[in-house]
């Protein structure tokens, strides 16, 4: 195989794996948007919050220790125990469900029937609030997250490709695990929405509130469920990104990566989020590889947005989105 093609294949694989993660984050948006018409600006901060909480619980940090110490003039920071990763993930999930309940109970329950822009503004408020609470609870220092996912070059792939082509592919173990987990999660979510009673109820609510009520579905319950699922997605995304580059504020910016994915795939389409994520992941890596050197690199920062813009012009409803027909 010619050398360029080998490099390109390696880049393609890496792009695919990045794409799966984009798809996962985008799914979090799509789920909430479909079921409630809310574009959840706080999705990225939810991932940050989940990762912060996970680290805090694993390391046995005392939540709100700054506040406690300042008010009571104490010096407590740690409980002195360590929680195993698996248990900590379960506890964090519990926290995300409680968060989902609070978000529904104290914010969106009072905003039923409001304009989409108002709901959107509420999620912006929620994003800043959550960011503040995360800081207050766990401190704003950069934290290391290690739930036991393997990291570093996958030697098996490196050796096998070297033996076959004379060029060893550099693929990070973490990327492999992350994309497998994300792919599994995406499949589970799709099966859940398509084939379970709860999934059917969720789609029903997304389709018509009045009809959903008439068959006995509690909208409140479905919305709490959807926010919980979005919280779960945020937690998984938070673990992947947090493991890779530490738990810090920039983690919340992964949400921005999901925006072009959504424009490409459509805001209401689950398959759209998946395909859109893969296209953006592969597209930006290949573009950087092929065109990057000619324009001085760093194309990854803008490629996704330009692609999304082009899409917006020619197909505003996205790849799989429902066609927008204005009734007159």
């Amino acid at each position: 195989m010619p050398e360029q093609l080998l490099f390109a294949s390696e880049v393609f694989l890496n792009g695919l794996m990045a794409g799966v993660l984009y798809a996962l984050v985008a799914l979090g948006f799509v789920l909430i948007y479909k079921a409630s018409g809310i574009f959840n600006f706080s999705q990225g901060v939810m991932a940050l919050f989940a990762a912060l909480t996970l680290v805090g619980i694993m390391e046995g940090r005392v939540p709100f220790s700054h506040v406690i110490n300042a008010t009571f003039d104490t010096e407590i920071h740690h409980f002195g125990w360590h929680v195993p990763a698996f248990a900590a993930i379960l506890i964090t999930m519990g926290v995300m469900v409680i968060l989902a309940y609070c978000v529904q109970r104290f914010i969106f329950r009072h905003l039923v029937g409001q304009e989409p822009i108002i709901l959107f503004m509420a999620t912006i408020g929620l994003a800043y609030f959550l960011e503040g609470v995360g800081d207050l609870m766990w401190g704003s220092d950069i934290k290391k997250l290690d739930v036991g996912l393997p990291q570093g070059i996958n030697t098996w792939i490196d050796e096998t490709t070297f033996d076959a082509f004379g060029y060893g592919f550099f693929i990070d173990n973490l990327d492999i695990y992350a994309s497998i987990i994300a792919a599994l999660l995406v499949i589970v979510l799709v099966l859940f929405a398509q084939y379970t009673k709860q999934g059917r109820a969720m789609r029903a609510v997304a389709d018509d509130h009045q009809a959903a009520l008439s068959v006995g579905i509690s909208l409140n319950f479905i919305w709490i469920m959807v926010w919980s699922v979005a919280g779960f997605v945020a937690l998984v995304a938070g673990i992947m990104w947090g493991t890779k580059s530490g738990v810090q504020f920039s983690l919340s910016l992964i949400a921005l990566k999901a925006l072009p994915v959504l424009m490409l795939g459509g805001f209401t389409s689950i398959p759209g989020a998946i395909v859109g994520g893969l296209i953006i992941g592969v597209g930006e890596k290949l573009f950087e590889f092929a065109i990057g050197p000619m324009v001085g690199g760093a194309t990854e920062n803008w490629f996704a947005y330009v692609l999304a813009l082009i899409f917006l012009v020619f197909r505003p409803q996205g790849l799989f989105g429902e066609k927008i027909i204005e009734r007159v």
Binding site: Q210, A211, V215, G216
Partner: protein, 272 residues
């Protein structure tokens, strides 16, 4: 004389039971508009009860009160011998009261089969997490639900469109799918808001037959709103007549037909 417990036997030999639902002095206002004014009536087990009246009389509002979509300012709703507290629509549905809408409310993006399956959702909010974990039970439940749903689909003769997205169906079939979804819940009371509006003669005949068959075969209590007087007289056991939010007649089709106030309302006699 009718009494609460005993009921009566119809001309065609169906046995009608005691009172299952009773509306007591219901008043419903929207700002200055009084949609329902101090109305009382009852619905007996196994009967077909019609609500008729000119446009804007308050018929749909009454159905919305029964199904929990509207909450009356005054009055009480009694169901199965108990006073019903204020309830959300989904809670009413969970109590076994299913309905259809005047302006069809279906899940347009879902297939006919999925739409009818949603009719089985009823008790989902109780123990749903337990269900998600206990896979065996959930699977068994899904199979049972599927059986009931297929029966309903056969019964209403919509097998040929099972997989079709509802959004693509013509109006008459949509009405039928909506009825199927309500029936799938195996309701004890079925509320139908103008099930035949906008249909052609043949479709109306089909729908009348289905309504009678549902009542006959499953003994389902049915309350329906209908404009077509011929249909109402054929189908119903007892009729409530409303006009400008007030009840102006209540009784058998024959009694109602010869009631002067009803005749006036329908002939458009001026109110004083």
């Amino acid at each position: 004389m009718l009494d609460d417990t005993e009921g009566y036997v119809t001309e065609d030999g169906r046995k009608i039971g005691g009172v299952v639902m009773e509306m007591k002095n219901i008043t419903l206002r929207f700002g200055g508009v009084v949609a329902i004014k101090d109305i009382s009536f009852d619905i007996r087990e196994g009967e077909i009860r019609a609500i008729i009246g000119p446009n804007g009389a308050g018929k749909s509002s009454m159905l919305n009160v029964i199904s929990g979509f509207y909450h009356p300012q005054e009055g009480e709703v009694w169901y199965k011998g108990k006073k019903r507290p204020g309830m959300r629509p989904y809670q009413v549905a969970q109590q076994g009261i299913a309905r259809t809408f005047q302006n069809i409310a279906l899940f347009e993006g879902m297939s006919v089969l999925d739409n009818v399956m949603t009719g089985r959702i009823r008790q989902m909010s109780t123990g749903m997490f337990a269900q998600a974990l206990w896979k065996g039970k959930a699977e068994q439940e899904e199979v049972e639900n599927r059986e009931t749903v297929e029966k309903v689909i056969d019964f209403l003769e919509i097998q040929h469109i099972r997989k079709t997205p509802v959004g693509r169906l013509p109006y008459g079939l949509k009405k039928r799918v909506e009825l199927a979804r309500a029936l799938a819940a195996e309701p004890s009371i079925l509320l139908l808001d103008e099930p035949m509006a906008g249909m052609n003669v043949e479709e109306k005949e089909d729908m009348s037959r289905f309504i009678l068959d549902v009542n006959d075969e499953f003994g389902t209590t049915i309350a329906l709103i209908e404009h077509d007087m011929g249909v109402v007289m054929d189908l119903s056991d007892r009729v409530v007549v409303m006009d400008y939010g007030k009840k102006i007649g209540d009784g058998s089709p024959d009694e109602v037909r010869s009631n002067q106030a009803v005749i006036d309302a329908y002939l458009g006699v001026q109110h004083d």
